[in-house]
Amino acid sequence: DQQVKQNSPSLSVQEGRISILNCDYTNSMFDYFLWYKKYPAEGPTFLISISSIKDKNEDGRFTVFLNKSAKHLSLHIVPSQPGDSAVYFCAALRLLGEYGNKLVFGAGTILRVKS
């Protein structure tokens, strides 16, 4: 039962263009949505998040959009740079109290930015 789905295993984009990574979720009870980036031989690193009560959050070249009615979020990277080439994981967080918060990850999308 995959609650968070990233249907595109990979994406290839030209340097300077926009990269759009997509993510769908099934559970309306999630409180936050997050994106993590992972380079080979390194652990994932937090990139950007959005509260479920917002529809957009921007941080430099990275913007996350949330469409609650469609249960869909997307990460936009503008402009894309070769250093952005990595695996991007979408994740959803449900706050269950002081203990036991649940973070669910998608399968990941490999982004390749060509120079």
Binding site: V4, Q6, A41, G43, F46, S49, L93, E98, V104, G108
Partner: protein, 113 residues
């Protein structure tokens, strides 16, 4: 900067062996987690701990146990390793006030032969 250190980058073990994966964090984080990463499945939570000596099962705890005797150290134990436990294992930590921001170690690639 937060540092989460996993003791081994690569491990090769035999079926039936008891395997210990160690993780240490240096930021006094209350929460610690063990995930495994498999192609096409993303990261799946095995166990987590929100305090010393406390542990909670994640989504796939079968075949694993954990130990947290000190705040900075969280160990994952494979009681009797099996080939389907071949995977990349990732340790992470966080604080209760920033639950969404997990800090990950570099991972341990475990091969069970």
């Amino acid at each position: 900067d937060v540092k989460v250190t996993q003791s081994s980058r690569y491990l090769v073990k035999r079926t039936g062996e008891k395997v210990f994966l160690e993780c240490v964090q240096d930021m006094d984080h209350e929460n610690m987690f063990w995930y495994r990463q498999d192609p096409g499945l993303g990261l799946r939570l095995i166990y987590f701990s929100y305090d010393v000596k406390m542990k909670e099962k994640g989504d796939i705890p079968e075949g694993y146990s954990v130990s947290r005797e000190k705040k900075e150290r969280f160990s994952l134990i494979l009681e009797s390793a099996s080939t389907n436990q071949t995977s990349m294992y990732l340790c992470a930590s966080s604080t209760p006030t920033t639950n969404e921001k997990l800090f990950f170690g570099s991972g341990t690639q475990l091969s069970v032969l």
